[in-house]
């Protein structure tokens, strides 16, 4: 046939859709049930947090950072604290580092249990959702007992932690680990490693090959599921993690093969649940006695930070992948000059959008759920013309131009002449 008619349909998944937890938009071009193209649109959840942050002092930003995300609230405030500590050269007491590790791993357990449930819901297996969220309640109770809140536990402060882990908490955590080891984990493994429905749906769905994972700089379980051994806690010798014997989890240890599909990402999460429990136990054993924060009062910390100069970068392996916070000091002021973060969902989202091409429509919800997207973390910038109210999309070229202008504005002494036209940037020819 010469004139083959293509019955392509464009379907919007989002901004509001039952498969998505947060507003984001995927414009999916379909040929029948097969996906031909995926276009990602972001910016429905912009709250202008960086702008708000530029009007808060260092201590206040801690609590703002916590509210960036509803799940990894500890990760954001931990990473921000690390960035500020690096900027001001503050030494954190060792006990505080251990407490940070324990809370971080507790948070990982609750985040991964949540995501396992969401993946179950995405394939219509609601029993998995309800039972895994029921199991999650236990770790939420422990977090509430330690921090006073189920989600925003406000553990970190600049130069340490705000709350100690006492004997009572220790007993509670060990009880919880026992409950998970004996009652929850066997069931989770049964479902995510051996259940025929789960295997039929998750195997070979949304495959991100290792090459794509590296090219798109996928993070966290998404990268590890594709066989990239990438874990900031391990690669960067973060805090006390090397003493706890951390190593990146890949699906190879469980199933023997790495395919980079949704199944593998879930297997990584199951493995990390086991690992987190081990890490918590070791941390509780090795935890030394001593101070939990470097400064007795917050105002002492603020005085010290007022004198700080330069910039700091904090990195941490959040449950979804590597989280980076950047803080630039404004000497003489308690308000930072710049506060910027990069979330793991941003690279993961484009990696999974690439992976969906050629798959079926039925795989879209579960593939999106498998990277555990956190859009409230991701949305940073929306460029809107204030006169017409229209949204504008900036290309790489525009961004490069804008950043050269900004650099000139900050430091007019720079003599070098970058050439945006004709060069390459990140492998893309401009």
């Amino acid at each position: 046939m010469e004139n083959r008619v293509e019955y392509w349909v464009k379907i919007p998944i989002g901004p509001i859709h039952p498969a998505l937890e947060e507003p984001e938009k995927f414009i999916i071009t379909l040929d029948g049930e097969r996906i031909v193209n995926v276009d990602v649109k972001l910016g429905y959840n912009l709250r202008g947090l960086e702008w708000v942050g530029m009007r808060r002092n260092y201590i206040q930003i801690l609590y703002l950072a916590e509210r960036i995300c509803g799940i990894c609230s500890f990760s954001h405030n931990h990473t921000y604290a690390r960035a500020v500590e690096e900027m001001a050269g503050i030494e954190v007491p060792e006990r505080a580092e251990y407490i940070r590790a324990i809370i971080g791993e507790l948070e990982r357990i609750h985040s991964h249990l949540l995501n396992l449930g969401v993946a179950g819901h995405a394939i219509g297996y609601d029993t998995v959702l309800h039972l895994s969220w029921l199991a999650r309640e236990r770790v939420m109770d422990v977090l509430e007992a330690i921090g006073g809140n189920r989600v925003n536990y406000s553990i970190n402060t600049i130069g340490g932690v705000r709350r100690d882990i006492g004997e009572k908490h220790k007993r509670m955590i060990l009880d919880m680990i026992k409950y998970y080891r004996e009652e929850v984990m066997p069931k989770i493994e049964e479902i995510f490693l051996y259940d025929p429905t789960v295997e039929a749906r998750l195997r070979d769905a949304g495959v991100i090959p290792k090459r794509i994972a590296i090219e798109y700089s996928a993070q966290g379980p998404t990268a590890r599921g594709s066989g990239v051994e990438k874990d900031v806690r391990y690669n960067e010798h973060l805090g006390v993690y090397p003493d706890l014997g951390i190593k990146p989890i890949t699906p190879k240890e469980f199933t023997g093969i790495i395919k980079g599909d949704v199944f593998d990402r879930m297997v990584v999460r199951v493995g990390e649940l086991w690992q987190s429990m081990e890490l918590i136990e070791r941390a509780l054993d090795q935890m030394p006695e001593g101070k939990i924060k470097a400064f007795p009062k917050d105002n002492v910390a603020l005085v010290r930070l007022k004198k700080a100069e330069g910039e700091g970068i904090g990195r941490y392996e959040a449950p979804r992948g590597e989280l980076v916070h950047y803080v630039m000091a404004n000497p003489g002021s308690e308000i930072p000059e710049r506060w910027k973060m990069r979330e793991p969902t941003f690279p993961n989202l484009f990696a999974v959008a690439r992976a969906l091409v050629g798959e079926q429509l039925a795989d879209v919800p579960v593939a999106i759920a498998s990277i555990d997207p956190c859009l409230s973390c991701t949305d940073r910038v929306a460029v809107i013309d204030s006169k017409t109210g229209k949204k504008k999309i900036l290309t790489e070229k525009d961004l490069l131009k804008a950043s050269i202008e900004k650099t000139r504005e900050i430091n007019p002494n720079i003599k070098a002449k970058p050439e945006p036209i004709g060069g390459t940037c990140g492998g893309v020819r401009l």
């Binding site: 349909v9 464009k10 379907i11 859709h17 039952p18 498969a19 379909l30 029948g32 049930e33 179950g120 819901h121 995405a122 394939i123 219509g124 297996y125 609601d126 029993t127 998995v128 309800h130 039972l131 029921l134 429905t197 789960v198 039929a200 749906r201 079926q360 429509l361 039925a362 795989d363 879209v364 919800p365």
Partner: protein
């Protein structure tokens, strides 16, 4: 006089089955909730939902055509007509020579009307849901019809007047034949029918056309208000009617005979007993199935029908055929 009797009977049955099927929806939601360790909604929730939907405004999409509004009414009309041919512990009201075939036609017609309504709504989600519905329809009917007609053929060997009528099941019982081959064959066909029932009411593996997280309720995506209420009622009726067919084929026993009742009392008692049996079948095929499985991809579901369920049905058929023709034994 007969017309009056039939009309009154049909209305009574319609009211009773509406009540029973909506009650089952509530029971199902409660039972599944308990299996998932949650409280679940009140048992009467489907009634509240129905009344609320009826009283709400129905939004018609701009791109919809006339069929969008007609389809719910046609679907409900088809399901009420279906009730006239549904075995409910006694022979259907409009029992004729070939009412089994009419039953299957009407059952399929409901799905077709849903598809027409979905296609007319102009929504891409509904479009995809309709495609999936048609694909499922084409796959699920074959093993079921093969099994159904084989059982009817086996029963006709016992000497019935109307071999293609539902009444056959109340004259003779497939288990009564009693030879080992029929029992095994019927058991295999029972499995086929339970899977068919699950796919007919679209739960568990087969919740593909209405996949909530994929295509936002598929064919029902654009329906709201009283149009949605009519569809909900018609699918509840269809659920009950499909389960009734399975009950009539495999578990046709009544209790009135043992208690020595006759007349209206016997009819009511049989109807109640039949309802309980239908609930039991739906419990296996709907509640448990829905709690322990997730949704398949459409390709996987179709290949399951053609490469698993159809051979299963063939095995049952071959066993029954061998029994009749006496090749072995």
């Amino acid at each position: 006089m007969k017309i009056l009797y039939v009309t009154v009977g049909l209305i009574a049955i319609y009211l009773y089955v509406s009540f029973a099927s909506l009650l089952w929806e509530g029971l199902d939601r409660k039972l599944v909730a308990r299996m998932q360790r949650r409280m679940g909604p009140p048992i009467l929730q489907p009634f509240y939902d129905f009344l609320k939907l009826v009283s709400k405004e129905s939004i018609i999409p701009r791109d919809a055509n006339k069929f969008f509004e007609i389809a719910p009414i046609l679907a409900l009309a088809a399901s009420i007509a279906l009730l006239a041919y549904t075995p409910l512990g006694f022979e259907p009201i409009l029992a004729t020579k070939g009412d089994v075939i009419v039953f299957i036609y009407l059952l399929t017609l409901i799905a077709f009307v849903r598809v027409i309504g979905a296609v007319s709504s102009g929504s891409p989600y509904a479009q995809i849901g309709a495609q999936r519905e048609i694909i499922m329809l084409a796959s699920r009917e074959v093993p079921m019809m093969l099994g159904l007609f084989t059982i009817l053929w086996r029963l006709s060997k016992l000497g019935v007047e109307k071999p293609f009528s539902v009444g056959t099941f109340y004259q003779y019982n497939i288990w009564e034949i009693g030879t080992p081959l029929t029992i095994v064959g019927t058991f295999v066909l029972l499995m086929v029918f339970l899977l068919w029932l699950a796919s007919e009411i679209e739960v568990g593996y087969f919740n593909i056309p209405e996949a909530e997280t994929e295509v936002a309720e598929g064919p029902m995506a654009e329906y709201s208000g009283r149009h949605l209420a009519l569809f909900k009622l018609s699918s509840a009726l269809k659920e009950f009617a499909s389960a009734s067919l399975v009950v009539a084929i495999f578990f046709p026993w009544g209790v009135s005979g043992y208690l020595g009742l006759s007349g209206v009392g016997a009819v009511i008692l049989d109807l109640v007993f039949h309802t309980l049996k239908a609930f039991a079948v739906l419990f296996v095929s709907m509640s448990i199935f829905r709690a322990i499985t997730g949704r398949l991809r459409i390709t996987q579901a179709v290949s399951m029908f053609w490469s698993r369920i159809l051979p299963m049905s063939l095995i049952g058929v071959v066993l029954l055929v061998i029994d009749v023709l006496g090749v072995i034994a």
